[in-house]
């Protein structure tokens, strides 16, 4: 008999495989380094960047590229000064996925709300709010006239939408508090408010619900200059989101569902644009290679690239292959000093065709500990003030959070639903069912997982 240690996993067997894995990676290291050097050469070669931009716009590739840049690829911007006073708003979410083996089919989404004021001495807000979904329309979505059960993927997307809606709600509230604007349609008509309104779920935030907001009469015109209200706080706001602003995973969900999510999401972005409050998606340790792909287009000898009709397939190595496998953050780690950001690129993700004026741009930022990717809507990318504000505030947030934006770290802490919370949730549910004399039944599989006899 072999002793596998305390758990089930045979670590002695795993260890051997780890050794092989690391050995193989080691042997690839030199090759990768050469690829990186080649990529850097390519990056510097494109001094005629408008030509590359043009070639990209006329090319058809299977990969995502970085487009619409307005300066050389090697251009960088130094860290702009941050405002004396500003407010950072962040949210995050966590969930208990629907589990058909459990005693009842339902799911829970917990959304955190973080508002941190800097330089004003105002009290920050750190809170979270759970919402339980259990109705027929929550559990099944229509797709091609068929009802499909909501799966983990869809719950995740719904959660993302709720995070965005919460960001908008927090900005609206902060603006209202500082007297800038009243209640606008902040695009939170979706699940969140519907749920809370109907079921009155536990609500521990100090922020009033929509019904408590004042009217929209004094809301300034979106393009009006700064509000003349006497007690307007001049401190700018920045909203941070943990992850990508590109809803690419919507492509695999039911049409009705994805259309609904997109519509609500764009409504949120509309409001941010009206308020001129930049919203940014922060991606730590990004694995994206959009800029590398752009260079690969540049390396192709064809005038315009069409990967489907690649004439070089018979060659031992394609002309674009020497830098394949390199990721953007690696090359920017050679180019950017702490605080500096890359030039701003446009993403070519397919889903962005639906984004209208909110199409997503991105830049890479050396935050000191790593190269992060920051995604912003077009109206932030094209506005130097909003861009500089986003750049300065995100760098400062990472500095304050010692490696990761402090607001997003707190948002995560407030939102996270751990395994033990899940257990407690199902125990509470079971107790409530028993109290109402409802027969409690879970699948044999789920029962077996809890108690296995010898």
């Amino acid at each position: 008999m072999t002793d596998n240690g305390p758990g089930v996993l045979d670590f002695s067997a795993v260890k051997k495989q780890i050794v092989y894995m690391v050995g193989e990676q080691k042997s690839h290291e030199n090759i990768y380094q050469k690829k990186v050097e080649k990529a850097l050469e390519e990056l510097k070669r494109w001094q005629d960047w408008p030509l590359l931009n043009f070639k990209l716009s006329q090319s058809k590739t299977s990969w995502l590229t970085a487009q619409d840049f307005s300066e050389p690829l090697t251009a960088f911007s130094p860290l702009p000064p941050k405002p004396k006073q500003f407010t950072v708003i962040a949210t995050d979410g966590s969930q208990i996925f629907p589990d058909r083996h459990e005693i009842a089919l339902c799911y829970l989404i917990n959304i955190s709300s973080i508002v941190l004021h800097y330089g004003t001495g105002e009290r920050p807000l750190l809170t979270s709010r759970p919402t339980l979904f259990y109705k027929e329309e929550d559990l099944y979505k229509e797709w091609n006239q068929h009802k499909v059960p909501v799966d983990g993927e869809m719950v995740g997307i719904l959660r993302n939408l709720m995070e965005f809606q919460e960001l908008a709600r927090l900005v609206a509230h902060t603006r209202e508090q500082s007297g800038i604007g009243g209640q606008e349609d902040i695009g939170t008509e979706g699940y969140e408010n519907k749920k809370i309104g109907k079921h009155g779920m536990g609500y521990n935030t100090e922020i009033p619900e929509r019904s408590d907001f004042k009217g929209v009469d004094d809301f300034p015109h979106p393009h009006a200059p700064a509000s003349p209200h006497p007690c307007v706080s001049a401190s700018p706001q920045v909203a941070l989101y943990d992850g990508t602003l590109i809803f690419w995973h919507l492509e695999a969900t039911p049409e009705d569902f994805s259309a609904y999510i997109l519509r609500e999401f764009l409504k949120v972005l509309d409001n941010f644009q009206k308020w001129r409050v930049p919203i940014a998606g922060y991606i730590s340790y990004p694995r994206s290679a959009d800029v590398i792909h752009t260079l690969r287009v540049g390396m192709c000898p064809e005038r315009f690239v069409n990967c489907d009709k690649c004439p070089y397939r018979d060659l031992p190595e394609l002309p674009c292959e020497p830098i394949q496998g390199v990721i953007d953050q690696t090359i920017f780690s050679y180019l950017l000093e702490p605080g500096e950001r890359s030039t701003v690129f446009k993403s070519t993700s397919k889903i962005l065709k639906n984004y209208g004026s909110h199409t997503i741009y991105f830049f890479y930022l050396n935050v000191g500990s790593e190269i992060a990717r920051v995604e912003i809507p077009e109206w932030v990318a094209k506005n130097q003030n909003l861009l500089a504000l986003t750049h300065a505030v995100i760098y400062d947030q990472v500095e304050k959070g010692q490696g990761y934006p402090v607001s997003l770290a707190e948002a995560h802490e407030k939102a996270v639903v751990r395994g033990s919370d899940r257990e407690l949730f199902y125990r509470l549910l079971q107790d409530a069912l028993v109290q109402q004399n409802i027969r409690v039944q879970s699948s044999c599989k789920s029962q077996k997982k809890r108690q296995i006899s010898i």
Binding site: I114, L116, Y118, R123, L126, K400, V406, S407, E413
Partner: protein, 200 residues
């Protein structure tokens, strides 16, 4: 005037309780009297006013798996640059239960039931302190506390309560002095050390 509570009971047992302060760093002083008002007069066993004596004050993280770290900045700088940390800290205090009040008056006896969790805690007014410290029987129970030096607690308690006896301070000191000399009759050095430090 309606009294405002300063803390809320979050843990209690027969001899002591832990209360979380409403505001950070706003604990009643070490060696001061607090009272727990009955949560509900209609609930049996929850109907007495309970007196406690603060013997330990602590400030720490609200989340057990997170600890405060040194930032090397002044509190003002921290409030400007890291405002969230003050929301993640809490101040709590432990109070030793020294007596209760029923219809017949104050008893320096442990209450039959400890204060209920989530009951509100209030500071005691000077009149209440004067009323409670008319007798010094409670002093001997303070020697049973092991987490803080009991002598320090006794000194702080007596010095704090002196203010409530502004009019009969001399008389009050004689009363507690007699009680202490009874309690410490076999340890003259300790007694004289306490008496020296109680002297106003």
């Amino acid at each position: 005037m309606k009294e405002t509570h300063i803390a809320e009971v979050i843990e209690s047992n027969t001899t002591e309780m832990i209360a979380q302060c409403r505001d950070l760093h706003c604990s009643p002083p070490f060696g001061s009297f607090v009272k727990v008002k009955p949560t509900s007069t209609s609930v049996e066993g929850a109907g007495f006013l309970i007196y406690g004596l603060v013997f330990n004050v602590m400030t720490n993280s609200i989340e057990p798996n997170r600890r405060a770290v040194a930032y090397g900045k002044t509190e003002e700088e921290l409030r400007n640059e890291q405002p969230q940390i003050f929301e993640l800290l809490k101040t709590e205090f432990q109070a030793h239960l020294v007596g209760y009040q029923d219809q017949t008056g104050i008893k320096q006896i442990l209450p039959s039931q400890p204060p209920r969790i989530h009951s509100f805690v209030y500071t005691c007014s000077l009149e209440e302190v004067r009323e409670f410290t008319r007798q010094s029987d409670y002093l001997h129970t303070l020697f049973t506390i092991s987490r803080v030096p009991p002598d320090e607690l006794i000194i702080a308690t007596i010095r704090n309560s002196l203010e409530a006896h502004a009019e009969d301070a001399h008389q009050y000191l004689i009363q507690v002095g007699k009680e202490l000399s009874r309690l410490l009759r076999e340890d003259y050095d300790r007694l004289s050390s306490i008496l020296r430090r109680i002297a106003p």
